[in-house]
């Protein structure tokens, strides 16, 4: 009987040691909590995947949209970047946030002015079109400045000529069907003060 008592004591002792060692291991070897990936990291990671030689990689820009309004300040920084892809992503996404968050409109429109005189024709054209989409008539002279471009679009599907796409945007939003740069410039100088945005038609009209 005594023999069993000794065995029991040894067994309980061993079990206690095992439990202690186990608990000690949990504390000692617990992996350090990973740093949560910030919205900025996610945006930079998405943009890093863009590759001009594989145009379809740019479609991932829509994933930034899913990150919500927290991405707006970062995109407002990116629009000042030297990288074409950074500026493109900002121009594509910012107007959507302005459309859904009226309180952000003034600051986003101000950001879009950064690329209104961009050296890249495609980015300048997209800026003009996005300003018109937001009902801002400053987009008209921006698009007129793209009408003598000779380039094909640097971004987006399907490939088009910048000047043809710019003319299409102008004719879509503005009640004038001019063909040439000169015709459009003359029209703009004459009608700049009379043109107003019709919210219902989502287009400009002459007052």
């Amino acid at each position: 009987m005594r023999k069993y008592k000794v065995l029991e004591t040894i067994l309980v002792g061993l079990l206690t040691i095992v439990i202690c060692v186990g608990v000690w291991h949990i504390f000692i070897f617990q992996p350090e909590p990973e740093e949560e990936e910030t919205v900025k990291d996610k945006i930079f990671s998405i943009i890093a995947g863009f590759d001009f030689t594989r145009p379809q990689t740019f479609s991932a820009v829509s994933e930034i949209n899913e990150l919500g309004v927290e991405s707006v300040p970062i995109l407002q920084e990116l629009i000042k970047s030297n990288s074409l892809s950074d500026r493109w992503a900002a121009i594509i996404l910012l107007p959507g946030f302005a459309d859904h968050n009226p309180e952000l409109r003034p600051t986003i429109i101000a950001s879009l002015q950064e690329t209104a005189d961009d050296q890249n024709d495609t980015l300048r054209m997209l800026t003009g079109a996005q300003l018109l989409f937001l009902g801002e008539k400053q987009g008209i002279p921006v698009l007129i400045s793209c009408l003598d471009s000779t380039e094909a679009t640097h971004f987006g599907e399907p490939p088009e000529l910048v000047k043809e796409r710019s003319l299409f945007y102008l004719r879509y939003y503005v009640p004038f069907k001019g063909e040439t740069v000169q015709a459009w410039q003359e029209w703009w100088e004459t009608n700049e003060d009379r043109i107003v945005w019709n919210e219902e038609k989502e287009a400009f009209e002459i007052q």
Binding site: R54, A152, E157
Partner: protein, 417 residues
């Protein structure tokens, strides 16, 4: 019942459900299909559009019409043929369009119209992926594709994107600075490479699309019209071939569209029509041979010694073709209309409608001759029985001795209330 047996039954039911899924009508009826009727091959794209906001919805009919026109202009090229050997089958392109009910997007189509390609239309300069229009590359008979187009998508953009819905890939890339480069500089005018200027679909595109299907161009019955009438074609019973030069028929005969020689039709004697109509004409400068002796030449349909000044003769005005109107619209309640072909010229106008019409369309006259200052009325009848609601388009192509013209046919079938 043993556990083993239960497992066996469960597996069998699962397998049957999977099979039923594969044979659901939606899987086999729609998407992009390639079918053959006789020797005519038709590529059909089933395309649903979802207009989800007010502005795009208001303009839906106009936009779809413009896009369909753009697709037909590029893909319904009358000269497209498909060959798997010696024969050539004419190829037609059709697009069947449906507009989803207001405020339904493509997720609705995915559930209720399986097998249809679906395009969400948004009223923005570019979509969320930064594209004016995009579409999944979807091989023929192999699933339904999805795309997102803006209201600012042009007809050429639509023609490019529908190429993806027929399984074709991009034929361009961009360099490190974003500059556009065609994959094949010799084919930089391919619709899959760009959407500006004069662009076209290439026979290789048609070949790629049909190669993906199980359709072939059977021999020998489809060899008529392949431009040859000797050797193999003759062995297969062709007397001639109307696209070959010479056609293979004897004097006084012409080759008909079945590759049989028939007596040349009697025509009104008009100098320059290619026929020598005695006794009024000694020869015809457009006929080969002209009908004059070798040392003589045919001037004013009379044979004259070469180098001798012929008597002055006023040359007749050539035939002209005026087709009015150039498009007809139909609906469930308007199923008949007509267009006229006028010839204000001074020579005969010979015309024929090329290619067969779709089953829902009937044209009263397929070929004919219109004398100077005369006109013909061509009736177009629509049979919309059995057609799903949607927009149907077809171009009636009129080939004549003065050129080609076409009449657009637009059939709009509204869904039942």
């Amino acid at each position: 019942m043993s556990d083993h047996f239960k497992k066996y039954i469960s597996c069998a039911i699962f397998f049957l459900l999977v099979l039923a899924g594969f044979f659901h009508p939606g899987f086999s009826q729609a998407k992009t299909t390639v079918t053959r009727d006789g020797c005519d091959i038709t590529i059909t794209v089933y395309l649903a559009f979802a207009f989800t906001d007010d502005v795009s919805w208001v303009n839906a009919q106009q936009l779809v019409s413009e896009w369909v026109d753009g697709m037909l202009d590029i893909w319904n090229e009358p000269d497209f043929t498909y060959s798997t050997g010696l024969c050539e089958c004419p190829v037609h392109f059709e697009v069947v369009v449906d507009i989803l009910p207001r405020e339904k997007d493509c997720s609705h189509a995915k559930q209720n119209m399986p097998g249809w390609h679906c395009v969400n239309v948004v009223n923005e300069p570019v979509n969320q992926r930064g594209n004016v229009a995009d579409a999944h590359q979807t091989p023929v008979d192999n699933g339904d594709g999805f795309g997102e187009w803006t209201t600012m998508t042009t007809g050429l953009n639509a023609a490019h994107e529908v190429g993806h819905f027929m399984g074709l890939g991009e034929e361009y890339h961009r360099d490190q600075d974003g500059n556009w480069k065609p994959d094949d500089p010799n084919k930089d005018d391919s619709i899959m490479a760009r959407t500006w200027g004069e662009v076209q679909a290439y026979p290789e595109h048609i070949e790629d699309i049909i190669d993906d299907s199980s359709v072939d161009c059977p021999e020998p019955e489809c060899c008529c019209g392949n431009g040859e009438h000797e050797g193999y074609d003759q062995m297969m019973g062709e007397e001639c071939d109307y696209t070959a030069t010479p056609s293979g028929c004897g004097q006084g005969e012409v080759c008909d569209s079945n590759c049989k020689c028939v007596a040349q039709p009697k025509v009104t004697p008009i100098c320059g029509d290619g026929y020598i109509t005695a006794p009024e004409e000694e020869c015809d400068p457009q006929s080969s041979p002209t009908g004059c002796d070798p040392e003589k030449e045919c001037v004013g349909c009379k044979c004259h010694e070469k180098g001798v000044e012929p008597p002055p003769a006023s040359s007749p005005e050539p035939a002209q073709m005026i087709v009015e109107p150039d498009y007809l619209t139909f609906s469930a309640i308007k199923n008949e209309d007509f267009f006229t072909i006028q010839n204000p010229g001074e020579e005969a106008l010979l015309f024929e409608m090329t290619h067969e019409s779709p089953p829902w369309l009937d044209v009263s006259v397929m070929e004919g001759e219109i004398l100077p200052s005369q006109e013909d009325v061509v009736w177009v009848t629509i049979n919309s029985e059995g057609l799903a609601p949607g927009l149907y388009e077809h171009s009636i192509i009129i080939n004549s001795n003065t050129g080609i013209q076409q009449v657009g046919v637009i059939l709009t079938l509204e869904p039942l209330p």
